[in-house]
Symmetry: C2
Subunit: 450 residues, 2 copies
Amino acid sequence: MTPTAIEKIAVFVAGFDPAGATPAARHVAARALYDTIAVAIAGADEPASRLMMDYARGQSAPGMATVWATGDRLPVELAALVNGTMGHALDFDDVSSPLRGHPSVAIFPALMALGESRGVSGKALLDAYLAGFEVTIKLARAIVDDQYAKGWHSTPSIAAFGATAACARLLGLDAARIAHAMGILVSQVAGTRQNFGTMSKPFQAGQANVMALRAALLAELGFDASMSAMDGPHGYTVLYADGQDIHAQFDTLGQLPLEIDAAGIEVKKYPLCYATHRAIQGILDLRKQQSLAFAEVERVEVKTNYRATVPLIYDRPQTGLEAKFSMHYAVAAALHDGAVNLASFEDAAVRRPAIQAFFEKVELSQGEPPMFPRWAEVVVHLRDGVSHRIRVEGLRGSAQFPLSNAELVEKGADCLAHGKVALSAERLARACFELDAAPLQALLEVLRSA
Amino acid sequence: MTPTAIEKIAVFVAGFDPAGATPAARHVAARALYDTIAVAIAGADEPASRLMMDYARGQSAPGMATVWATGDRLPVELAALVNGTMGHALDFDDVSSPLRGHPSVAIFPALMALGESRGVSGKALLDAYLAGFEVTIKLARAIVDDQYAKGWHSTPSIAAFGATAACARLLGLDAARIAHAMGILVSQVAGTRQNFGTMSKPFQAGQANVMALRAALLAELGFDASMSAMDGPHGYTVLYADGQDIHAQFDTLGQLPLEIDAAGIEVKKYPLCYATHRAIQGILDLRKQQSLAFAEVERVEVKTNYRATVPLIYDRPQTGLEAKFSMHYAVAAALHDGAVNLASFEDAAVRRPAIQAFFEKVELSQGEPPMFPRWAEVVVHLRDGVSHRIRVEGLRGSAQFPLSNAELVEKGADCLAHGKVALSAERLARACFELDAAPLQALLEVLRSA
């Protein structure tokens, strides 16, 4: 196998023999160090340096913001990094179709950490989220299709702008400083789909929050950036979006309905690839309507919309992580267990002999274009010759068919149990749902009581 | 004036009226918060989450690394961020022509902070720098021309790979972890020339160090990324370099001569745009050869190589920052003062009436292609009809004509005085020059004695 670029660097660096450097070359390096330190000291009193020092001092106290699962207190930025990474580690967090990514996990960890450090009201936090959600969706509508196709990961590469807007709003910055925050963000935007399937995917969600905090907090201190950082000739749209125009979408900022009403939020009901969700719903519904003994099933046909099968790369999954991208497992688990939840993705659950033996009974295919609206058709053929058919378009959890509060609390209870946190999902939900009328501190106290 | 994209966001966010959100929409936002927290708690025990928590705990102690100018002790990453930003705030730090950017300021702040926290030897630090320098220049040779032209800022967008290699080397990571560090870096790479001329330019130099530290320290903990993060179909070369091939250059990694010998390092002798340096050197040399009374100069012709005048946008600078991009000021100060140093860029120095009156006597032009090798010609016409002409190609401070140690110490003394730090440049230089035979701690003690 030809080594990748990364592997070439790794082999070189791990085996680097400094004996190849002459004494003169080592002296050149030592002189570079001297010159670098001396020039930095000369620059210590420049505005950029003084503000960065103020920022760093403000971030170096450990106890400013809470890690949701453990109650640890960390500096604002690090708490947001941890909560954002945790929040995306299971790929179970909410989704936005216009974003092709995950809006809330890119925004709330930053807002919660910042809000805790500033003692804000729950209303201020939700207002900030709504403003950030608007910016996120407008930018996504302008550029996400090509940008995502190329390889950018929209959760950091787009929603970070919304996170920055949200943080700037929570800080109460004026328009001039908000503009600088957006420019400072552009100096940091990154995130690639090439890292999907590794820990660096949730890391990129954590990073979206960090970039936003750094941008907003530096702007608050007076740090500056170019007003053309997004749409200038060397700015964001050129570097990240092939020069596409974003103004038409931004000209709609402030118009009603807000995107929280128009685009809405899609809550994941099952902790695996979204492309399986309609088929799972169909099977669970069939199971309620019919007696469907698992042992009596001869085969299952699943057909779904154009391109929906692309991420479903495991026909014979052996681990929980593989099963997250397997329609075969989704069908087997839904039929066998009557539920698909976090426990379904323990390796032992995936390796059950009855489940493994079932994979060959699943036939998966996809339809012709277009990709939207999404649909799935499931036909369950029984040994006795009877077959049951169901077609699913409206998905429970989508903005059009939202989960009931009770269903959402049930999902949360599953999550809290999986995280081994002794906290009532009911109580956590109430603290969130009543946030508009309470200080953020009330929610934080619930979290820290775990 | 049409507002920029950033300004549109800023006006929207600053004026955002949350009354546009229905109670139902606010409840959707509150539910999203609940779902985000619950899912994050479910993900707390995932490997990505546990490692990120370990990383954050390790970064939340305040006293791990030293800020060079103030002696403040900060977490590793924040010290590197501050030192890296300070180090580029004056644009006086060293340069690499193949990089089209600043190698040392992207690498040493990270290495110094990391090295301090681990108590390494000076030799280990220099070895790591040399390895990082190699990776930086090889990657730059492969892609910098087009990447820079498009608008990426090579100090973070390329030298950060070298910084990551250097940090990984200093940590003694094995090849597998170094490869993951490179992939984790790709999740963070950013930096745009659109932010030149603002504080976000030095911020991007600071960021190069932060990205590298985060990548190397996470990889050390076992965090992972895609092996194809650089050269895969959605990886770095596609997103940041139009799919250019980097393998031919990487295949030379490990070959002698090392780039520290072949490409070398260019030290700035004057704290302003590099495009003025040859003209300044010519005038200072003429002044030593001839009696050149400032009052007797009638006019000065300066001609320099193709494209060298592009950044020199101020013919009549009024401030120190403007004067940094003015050949007119460079000529006037060199002729009047016999020196161009940090004090030359105080506003009062630029506004001296004799200097301001002189600007009209300077005639600047540029030659035909090619751009390299660089040159400058200066003709000084005196009132008495005599004229003196000089042509400069070899620049003192370049890799071909390095400064003497005494000249480098002189530059450093100017820097330390400008930074108002009571430290002997001689002593700092000695600690750097003797680093190969001492613990890094010895240099840190010199810095902290200021």
